[in-house]
Amino acid sequence: MKLEKYIALILLTLFVGYEAKAQKEEKVRKVWASGASRSVFQQNNLLLDTDTTTPKKLMSGHTLVDLAINAKPNDQTFLHGMVRIRNDFGGFWGSGVTFDIRQLYVKGLVGEAVRYQLGDMNYKLTPFTFYSNNEELSSHQSAGLSIFRDMVRYDMFYDEDNTWRQQGAAVDFALEFEKGIDELEVNVFSSRNRASDFAQQNDRVFFGGNMTLKQSDLFSLGVNYIDLMDLAGTSKSKNEFHNPVVTGTTKWNYSLKKYDLELNTESGVSRMYELNTAKEELKDFFLDMELSGKHKKTGTTVRFGYTNVGPQFRSVGAQSKRLNFEALNLMYSRYENGQLPRAISQMDVYQDASLYQLRLDPQLQAFSPAYDNVMPYGKATPNRKGFNLEVKRESKNEFYEIVLGGKILSEIVGQGGDDLRNFNTLDGELSLRFDKLMVNRKKPLELSLGYTSSRTERTTSFTEANVDLKSAMLDLGLKVGLSSDFELLANYRSITAQGNELLSVRNLNTEVVDFEAYSTDLVESLVLIGLRYNFSKKNRLDIVWQKMNWEDKKSGNKDYGINQFAIAYNLKF
């Protein structure tokens, strides 16, 4: 605690001193401050008359400031250090002031050719090697539902590029050629995944890279390599874990008279093994292809893809999940007179940062079949093959955007027998921006509609092993500009899931060793109304009221509702 305060004091002093100097030297900014600040207040009310044990009303909130010092001592070097000062108001989010080093890195250029970054960094490769898949329920989210989701993503360093936050080093450079080949790009990185305990746990590092040969604007070829491995000799343990994955990618562009075509392929192999143990080695391969065509005149895009990911394909960097479905919610973690654990609901997914994680995990982590039973580990979900199709069109005047898609997938090998599961999904999204039709209206008037449904089926010779699970999500969003700075936000989201599954129970080597019956009759609904005042593009105040209802007749838990009133102030500078 004293160390963090000392560091914060140093950074603040530097900020005051150098900012004063920077104001005099506006032409060449060598040191400047940046950061973010927010203040959140929430009042929650649990709606469950039969619960006489759980405190119904919970108030909480916090104020935090992320203060960063950026320094550019020369044209080749950039330093960034950010401190977080957080004060919780009390309630279920705790109390007291905390100081934390939020991020620290240096990056620069060597010889005007090689870029490097040391310290904290956001990194990704491909969806089958190193990729942070979006969390469940994150599709079709309009402005209202994004208020708290964006805070969680900011806190957890999740960004729109699907990178993972790592601590390590990265280097990249490119070579240009005069003829034959345009460019060769090379990116390599290394980060520490786990520290040694000097007893039975080795240091575990994650390293890899990518080399892409861009022959021209029409063709490029790449190779990716990653490995999560234990460093022998860093503890007393003789066991050494390895998960190397090698993939090759191609990208081919071709322009016809009326269409622009693009073909992307990626295929590769993985191994997962642990030396000096009795664990079986798992190895498998995958293939993913997508052909997309864009009609030049209308802008309509059609994507058609095929995927085949083997049942023993393992890629820790691509299959690790953001959400930990085995964690307990912070808000009303237990309820009812029996104080049963409250299952994670959509409100927790949008708001509770404690459910999220940054560590890459070699286990295939638990998922929610009600929320996503088809591709819970993203594109790298093992034991899937099949086709997907998507059509997207956006009007030239930006009035509407429509996306329709579907997947027809099945397992590659059966579980417990030869009968395979079949998976079908349908996904549609319609966005209407009425303000684009109104010449004199500058304020937003937007309506969005999103719908996703999926079904998992399997028929076997045993009724207990048959699977039939349906789920659907409907999202309606509205954004109305009341004045140049005021906006009205409204959202309705409904999630339903009915049916049964036989979930895999895996051992520490991720092999299926048993099955667990799962049954659900879930109905969740959430209504949100909010007012937003935009002080500027980077500064806003949201006042939000939302109500969620939850019921699952098959779970044994009682139906309940949660009312929430919240005020959220956000500032970036």
Binding site: D284, G416, G417, S461, F462
Partner: protein, 335 residues
Amino acid sequence: MNIRKIITFALVLFAFTSCEREENSEGPNLDDLFGEFKVLDNFEVSAASVDFSTGEQVFFTSRFSTISAWEITIESTTSDAKKVIEGRSKVIDASNSIWDGSASDFPSFGTGLCTVTLLVLEDSSKQSKDVTVTGARVPNGIVVANFENGINPDWTLFKQAGANMSFVTRDTGVVPEGSKYLDMGGEVDWDWLIGLIDFPATAYGVNGFGLNSNPTDLYFNLILRKKPGLTNGIILFQFKEDENEDGTFTESSEDMYSVEVKGKDLTDDWSVYSIKYTDLKALVNGAPSTPNGNGQHNPDMLHTLSCLFLADPSSGYSQADMDLLIFTEGEALKL
């Protein structure tokens, strides 16, 4: 067909055709899980009698047509000793049903007839067998104290001149191990210390405690309980290492590691408390501190193990019972 198309097609074809994949299904066969349940082999015990004191073990066998959850309960006919072995499988054999004489909870098994019952949860069927224990299990490890012969004269016992002082061995009620345990109790209103026992290495022969040098593989175990309603006691163990092997422990220049067990963490029933030697910390007045010696855990150099029974002088009478102080290797003590 230009070269780019050829390369792409070739790579895709190569990736698709050159890899072979095992087509076996994942997980246990559904026949084994949901097929018709039958007992194919009846429940049997590997021996009618067993002498655990010589290291003998016994196991049980049965076989079913499907994977089933089962529970084997072993109950002594002469005491309340009980052991439960659970599993889920098609076969019960030596790989999943060995009984080494341990109990699931106190009291431990003595000699005598035991009834063994197999309950198969699939059809709630029960089968029973008998086994006679001719020799009770002796916990495998280095025993520091089991109080069977009272207080060893080579130990150093000190108790304050307080009120209602005990620090005596007793044989009443449930005895977790053997026939006697140590009762530590008293009321001392001027000092935290109620009493202490020093167990010097010299009390155990020329090789001292005979512990190995690997602290990550060594566990210190003991059996404790508190008196109902009394949570004010603290049992402090101090591990004093003679790192320069001069035969004495010098507090200012040699390591002393400690562990505290607080009365509020004890139960009214006997329970085993275990700590890995490497997890012992240097403490000063209960707070972590820096060790005064080489800073390494050296169990093979253990000079004296001290047990101090403490309580806040203003909190009144305090009592805790203790039995079987034992070092074990590889795992914590099993009952």
